[in-house]
Symmetry: C2
Subunit: 464 residues, 2 copies
């Protein structure tokens, strides 16, 4: 199973209705190819499994006879081309293994999704993953130089150059294919020099809207950061509440800044929005850029909170998901959803999705949001929602909320998902996202690559 709210709840409710009939852990491309041939011959569904961190129900076993293909043995760095800044990894390589292999040689991939500790190279590619530092290092699609995909229609080696005009991009067909078109077994990724220096700092804005404007200007006019994370007022308040430990840098920076005084300075606690801004790279450039950015932010209305909250955030960046289990224990429904749109729509989308969520969740809910990834033309919105689990059927309660929110996202013209993927959770909306002709084209690709429908059935496309 994965790590969706529904996955966790099904486990807690003893409502898991399917399981793998067999788990196979192949050690080579040859073994994967033989598994594919076997599965086609005997009509066995294959569910490729990387790190199991999906939050879109993308690795559940279908009802049919099925085989979980665990890529955990196909891991490690098989080659490093230091001249070309390229390294090849097995699809099952976990984030920390990959960074350790690279960092001991002076490199980094710079791909840090929140699932980093438990997710894999193959999973990142199959789900179009985006790391927290995507502004500085790019999304996974910017990093893949070449990849091997084993499919019922034959093996494919995709990618020959940093860029090509040789027709449609096959790489971009398998990026985001979520195990439904083939099994990614290895990939060559663009790597970067390990950053010599890091500067992460925090700012308070008077409001989310003011922060949006400042962040947009930074993305469009520079100096562009490696990471930016702008919380709305509700998330900022929750963050302050969670950082009441005396050791918290955010709390002590806020104290030093005289949090009680902030309202008098015009930063009312109820509307203040926290921005974390990170610069990475060559030391001179980092210090110049971070300094210039601080000036720009202050001119845009920000209150500078210093570097310690940034350092804290870096240290704790992968810890927050673990909080979910604690909240579930206390009878709370907690989930996240995310989307992206252009800058001119961000503030209105944030307001409308916030309202839609609160309406779907009821009065005792808490809805908070941050911009998790920013671009020149727009940004993503990442919502965390909390409400009492007050239904006799928590899965139905979730389904109702999920539908209300997702209907809203799609009807407002934003994208169905910025980095979580489709899986089962979003499959009903794929047609709305890509339109009827786009959906038919994706189906045609699926039918060509997997005519028997053995690859991860139920994911991406609704079962036929």
């Amino acid at each position: 199973m994965g790590k969706a709210y529904t996955d966790l709840m099904r486990l807690r409710l003893n409502a898991v209705r399917t399981a793998p009939d067999v788990v196979v852990v192949p050690a080579s491309d040859d073994q994967v190819e033989r598994l594919l041939a076997y599965a086609e011959r005997h009509q066995v569904a294959i569910v490729p499994f990387g790190g199991g961190t999906t939050v879109t129900e993308a690795v559940q076993s279908p009802r049919a006879l099925n085989l979980c293909l665990d890529l955990g043995q196909m891991q490690g760095m098989s080659s490093l081309d230091a001249t070309s800044h390229l390294a090849t990894f097995g699809a099952g390589t976990l984030g920390p293994q990959l960074e350790q292999a690279l960092q001991t040689r002076g490199f980094t991939l710079g791909h840090f999704p929140q699932s980093f500790e438990c997710s894999t190279v193959g999973g990142w590619i199959a789900s179009r993953s985006s790391g927290q530092n995507s502004i500085g290092y790019g999304r996974i699609e910017d990093m893949v130089y070449d990849m091997r995909v084993l499919t019922p229609a034959g093996p494919m080696d995709i990618g020959r150059a940093p860029a090509s005009a040789a027709g449609p991009s096959l790489k971009e067909v398998f990026l985001g294919s979520e195990g439904t078109l083939g099994i990614i077994t290895q990939a060559t990724l663009r790597i970067r020099p390990r950053p010599e220096s890091r500067d992460y700092r925090a700012f308070f804005f008077h409001s989310f809207e003011e922060g949006v404007q400042a962040l947009r200007s930074l993305m469009q006019n520079g100096p562009r950061p490696a990471l930016a994370r702008l919380s709305d007022a509700d998330e900022t308040q929750a963050g302050l509440a969670l950082s009441r430990r005396p050791s918290s840098a955010l709390a002590s920076a806020a104290r030093r800044a005289g949090l009680a005084l902030l309202p008098h300075l015009g930063y009312p606690r109820a509307s203040a929005a926290l921005l974390i801004l990170g610069y990475e790279g060559e030391a001179g450039r980092v210090s110049a850029d971070a300094g210039r950015a601080r000036g720009e932010m202050e001119r845009a209305g920000a209150f500078h909170l210093g570097t310690s909250p940034g350092r804290d955030w870096l240290r704790d960046r992968f810890h927050h998901p673990y909080l979910r289990d604690v909240l579930l224990d206390r009878g709370l429904m907690v989930d996240t959803f995310e989307t992206a749109t252009r800058w001119s729509e961000i503030v209105s989308l944030h307001r409308q999705l916030g309202e839609a969520s609160r309406q779907a969740l009821g009065e005792r809910s808490y809805v908070m949001c941050h911009i998790s990834h920013a671009y020149e033309t727009g940004a993503s919105l990442y919502f965390t929602i909390l409400a009492p689990q007050d239904s006799p059927d928590p899965l139905a309660q979730w389904q109702r909320v999920k539908k209300a929110v997702t209907d809203h996202i799609v009807s407002l013209g934003a994208t169905l998902t910025h980095h979580h993927g489709i899986g089962r959770s979003h499959a009903s909306w794929l047609k709305a996202e890509v339109g009827p002709a786009g959906y038919q084209l994706l189906m045609a690709v699926k039918h060509h690559m997997d005519p028997q429908g053995i690859l991860n059935p139920g994911v991406m496309w609704r079962p036929r």
Copy 2:
């Protein structure tokens, strides 16, 4: 017809064997859709025509009854979202029209292929075009935010956000589709502030190899330029010969540098390699980056030639293609080909392709090359080849050379084309580029989108 060597020669030899049966210039999406329906009903082939600058024979009329769909009336900027740095253009908008519309509002697209004066937005997208400033501004695929494509399988509006994880990227299926999957009628493109300042300057390296190393380091460690163009020794010599006019800045910079003295300084004329490096953007950043880059280049062995050759290059950047007609008049075969690979292969690929070209062309040939586009992981190689037209059948002579060179590119593992596209000229090698399973997948997409095969038949895929 287009602007391939074979197009020009067929015109000169009076060997044009096909022509459009009708040229239609629709003014709206509705008219394009009616044309598509008409063409399907009556089995009429459609050749979409943008600016006609293809050098891969991508707009020739097929032998079948055919209709040239000229997008020249669907032009202009239909909307500008200055907040999101996005602008929407009709597919028939020409480069200069687009830049004028943007620059009067303080923006630029920054897309300057050598065909800029005569090529169109739709053509750029359909052929995966890459501008001379692609390091700074990205390739066309980095600029497309959304697009409308009208197809026999229905209309498609593709793109909802700066980035998305909603499955495979349909945008990347139509990028590079060369009119074979649908008619692109409009696109929204990412725009940038018009650069406040420009710094273009030139350097001599002792050799191409030395220049490659210096340019690679710049791409990997910064400061990354907006443009880089590194000529090999033969192209550098040709450039100096062509710039003998007294007004030429390269000539006078070389004179000032004491060109005759350069060999004594260790820059022998026979091996010296010219690098043009351009920085664009905010004035302070440009001057800092250009200064740092000069230092890096000099430490790497470069002789600094100053800014005037760079300014000259900027002024003349779109003029060189016109020289081809003059050379053809004088009985020369002249063509270009291009590819890309990783940095660790660039020097060896340059040598091997140079040798293969000289061998195919014979003793009286001149083969020169430059790196036209650079990336962190590799670069493109752009060859210009000249030889006497000494065959009674110049088209067969060309075919022989083209085959020898392209066989070499593909067998060496480099990409078939970095930015010219497939068209008819490269169609025979597409299967070698993407492999048998990749080729079958592309064919499946084609058959789904265009079951009657009316869209630009003969291009990309060999006729069935």
